[in-house]
Amino acid sequence: MMIKEVITVILLVVGCFFFLAGTLGVLRFPDLFSRLHALTKADNLGLGFIAAGMALHIGSPWAVLKIFSIWFFTLLASSTSCYLIARFQKEKDQARNRKEEG
């Protein structure tokens, strides 16, 4: 019992650390691409750790399945939106470069 709680707390703290790192990255990184990188990578990892911690805390198989499907869907949605934002920015940059050259 004791060990389970300790592991839960460790997982949650690690998750919070990654969220903090991701937020710091969004605030401090210079351009859109690196900010996207910080936001999606670190936050998804943080969410994964928090999901693992909560799953361990709750312990019932259905809850575990639900929590991990939340994580899975968030992973899919955030990586897709990251890709779309990055593509939009890249196309905008290319258009601007072409205009400047031409």
């Binding site: 869907f73 899919l76 949605a77 897709t80 890709y83 779309l84 593509r87």
Partner: protein
């Protein structure tokens, strides 16, 4: 410990609301509004109103968010009209002019003061014993559902819900009125993105299933027509954004039918109940459960169709306008 969380949430919600009002750029305002909606949803969860929380998160942060982002994109893509200097246009579009804000601020202050007074009076006059909660709980077995919120929304106060469906339909009509009735033309072919397409294809059945679950689960827990409708509406919006506008693919009568079926079925049911000697929306207790499920399903279809149509219409309109501007330049 839990009072700490409540205090943090309350302060966060108010802080985000103020930030949202006073943010200098429209982009910031929009994103702060998302954050505000989520903080509000969490606050509703803490207050035990999970139904309201889901609706708040889905409508305020989800659907309104999509509309706001769409509007923001139009602002950012709008080419300079008459000014040659892009800076002028940029500053006039994306930032607010502080001088012109005096009157709105005054009105806002007055309205806020009035609202605070009313809220204080409401808190002061909270009836002993939780108001109508006991009455609703007592009649729960007759309502046909097990969840008190659904019982109130779909049975005891069905009239309100019926009119809400009408309000949503009116909103759709308003967007038609603003843009003229040039409904659901095929949009110009968007660049086909294989990743986007696959993700949308993956999410469509998942969202549909989850919406259906929420709809059915509304019988015994938080959930119901509005929450399900937002998820189904999200399918429509996703498909529209992915280059598959639902309303231009299905025949027109089917679109109109799905828009009006919720309001219409409610109305016809009320009419027959009146004709049978009962009052409006007084379901016979034996059939109440089935009737509520049918009403909720049809209402969810209607609301989802209306939300999709509002988005599709606005998105379409803006696209056509920006195309016109581009072609005149």
């Amino acid at each position: 410990m839990s009072i700490m969380i409540d205090i943090i949430l309350a302060v966060l919600a108010i802080y985000l609301a103020l930030q949202c009002l006073f943010a200098p750029r429209l982009t910031q305002t929009v994103f702060l509004f998302f954050a505000f909606g989520l903080a509000l949803a969490l606050a509703w969860v803490r207050l035990g109103a999970v139904d309201v929380a889901i609706t708040e998160a889905a409508i305020a942060s989800g659907f309104l968010g999509v509309l706001f982002l769409d509007a923001l994109r139009d602002f950012s893509l709008a080419p300079p009209l008459k000014w040659d200097n892009l800076e002028v246009v940029h500053s006039s579009l994306a930032t607010k002019n502080p001088k012109s804000l005096f009157l709105p601020r005054l009105a806002l202050m007055l309205g806020l003061g009035l609202f605070l007074l009313i809220a204080l009076e409401a808190v002061w006059k909270i009836p002993e014993g939780g108001g109508l909660t006991a009455a609703a709980e007592a009649l729960l077995p007759e309502s046909g559902v097990e969840h008190p919120v659904t019982a109130v929304l779909l049975n005891f106060r069905a009239y309100d819900t019926w009119l809400e469906l009408g309000v949503i339909l009116l909103g759709l009509l308003a967007t038609f009125a603003v843009g003229g009735i040039k409904i659901y033309r095929k949009p110009p072919v968007v660049a086909d993105d294989i990743l986007l397409r696959q993700v949308i294809l993956f999410f469509t059945p998942v969202l549909f299933l989850f919406g259906a679950f929420l709809l059915y689960f509304g019988k015994s827990g938080p959930g119901g027509a509005f929450q399900a409708a937002v998820l189904w509406g999200a399918i429509g919006i996703l498909l529209h954004l992915g280059g598959r506008p639902v309303f231009s693919m299905i025949p027109r009568w089917l679109g109109q039918l799905s828009l009006t079926v919720g309001l219409g079925f409610f109305l016809i049911l009320g009419f027959f109940l009146l004709a049978g000697g009962a009052t409006l929306f007084e379901y016979p207790p034996a059939y109440a459960g089935v009737l509520i499920l049918i009403i909720e399903t049809l209402a969810a279809i209607s609301i989802a169709a209306a939300l999709t149509a509002i988005f599709a219409n606005l998105n379409q309109m803006n696209k056509e306008e920006s195309n016109q501007i581009e072609s005149t330049n």
